[in-house]
């Protein structure tokens, strides 16, 4: 499991932004991909996240959290802004993005996933996919993930268990079907 908290009191030299971006681009992209469930939106939000990070780079303090956590926080707030904007737009236009039942499922999350898993992930809410992304895909520890989500570690653990349970049930049901 990746340790995402820095060593207490250790004063390390701050790495360059380019190095940080190179190291954590895949993490941020994966997180946003799971969070939004849309590959193109995830790409746009990833770029926006790194633009924000670039502007705020001088405010990054490695003693308060790792670069990965910091970038995920920025990514989260970018994604939430996007969700709010979308929600307002939908309300204004009276449009509901309902997928047709017969529409083919394209591989949004990963090329290697089974259609059942893809469909299962799609059936989850953004909040459920988010906790799976943080804990399972990015392998953040419970405390860091909880801090990022603004909830307690216990609540985070519960949310993860429920999300995985729901996903497994959906995947099994799809496999049987």
């Amino acid at each position: 499991m990746t340790g995402s908290r820095p060593l207490g009191g250790a004063r390390e030299a701050t790495p360059s932004f380019a190095a940080v971006a190179e190291d954590h681009l895949d993490d941020v992209h994966a997180y946003l991909l799971y969070f939004t469930g849309d590959r193109s939106v995830a790409e746009d939000l990833t770029a926006e996240t790194f633009e924000r990070a670039c502007r705020r780079w001088r405010r990054f303090d490695p003693r308060r959290g790792s670069a990965k956590t910091w970038l995920c926080q920025l990514a989260r707030s970018t994604a939430l802004d996007h969700f709010r904007t979308e929600q307002r737009r939908r309300r204004r236009e009276g449009v509901y993005a309902l997928r047709e039942p017969g529409e083919a499922v394209e591989a949004a999350f990963s090329e290697g996933f089974s259609p059942a898993l893809e469909e299962g992930l799609r059936s989850l809410s953004a909040g459920e996919r988010e906790v799976i992304a943080l804990r399972v895909i990015l392998e953040l520890d419970g405390e860091t993930a909880a801090h990022l989500l603004g909830i307690s570690p216990t609540a985070c653990s519960t949310r993860l268990s429920r999300a995985l349970q729901k996903l497994e049930t959906k995947v099994r049901a799809d496999a049987v079907a």
């Binding site: 380019a18 994966a30 996933f113 989850l124 809410s125 953004a126 895909i137």
Partner: protein, 377 residues
Amino acid sequence: MPSHNKIDERFSDLVRELRSGNADAPDALRERVRAIAAQAPPPRPVRQPLGERFRLRRAVLILVPACVVAAASAAMLHGLTSSGSAPVVADKAVVGYGGPVTMQALKARARDAATPPAPASGVFGAKTPGVAGSSSESAAAPPPSARYQDYRVTMRVRVTGLDSLSKSVVKAMRVTRALGGYVANVSYSSPNVRHGDAVLLLRVPIANVQKAVLTYAGLGALVAQHFTVVDLQKRYDAEVEQLGKLRFQIARFRSQIENGELSDVEKAHTQEQLEYARLRLLRLQAEKRTTLNHARLSTVRLSLTTFHKKQKEIIPAVPSRFDRMIDDAGGVLGTEAIWFAYALLVAGPFALLALLLLAAERSRRRRSERRLLAATG
């Protein structure tokens, strides 16, 4: 490892499958991010800005003890500087009356007391038994000043026998009247045929007080004497000024009422103000008369006794500099504590309200975030 770091074993297959997926960023995105990163500012210098170095928790940890130390230091410093400034002569002159006196009261009275023109150092202090001479030559009062003063003298004179005691009482009363004063109170007691005491409270015009003191001292052997001179000029001037203002106010109210330009309501209000100003004028005039009375007549408390027994010193010990310092520092600390409590009382509810609002806003944001994420598929 804490339990919330573990992922339930039941989902190990699912977790493995999820982790086997490839969610890496595409090359186009990678190039885009590289272009953004190329514009990034250089890493932050090692020294952080002041605002970031002093985070709230650390600032509180430093500021609270610093404030306590500063408050205590200020109190001690005040005590240290002011403890040496109390004039000893004035203290001695003042403590002749009554029991224990606080330093604050002593200082206030010493500040207000007019300094008599060049009295001999022994004159203004207390003459204790055995120190004083036995004749009237050793008694002297500070000469009255041109300023209004509250002038008080306490004298203790020993006479030879009961005969002499009664004669001395009569003589003291006669002298007082002869000098334009009056006897306010006389108390005479003779528990046996040989000894007795008499205490006279005499009011003597300030102009004649020196003569009176010399005469009283001549009645026998002067055992002790104390003087208190408190300046009344400031009070008198303030009263005169206040009277002038009130008279001006009254004249203005009268003219306003007589002009007839006021509405009925305004007229009634002005009339009320006029009545109030008149009442204040009357009260202030009475106060001024009392002040003048105090300034015109000195008060002499003359004790005559036949007893040889050494009287207990009535002067309380003058507090040492250390005592005064502690006393002053305590006073300042008390004032600081009162101000702190006051500030807490005033600001506390607002701070609590702000915290509640902050918590409510936070909770509202989280709820809306949860709803948003639950609604977003």
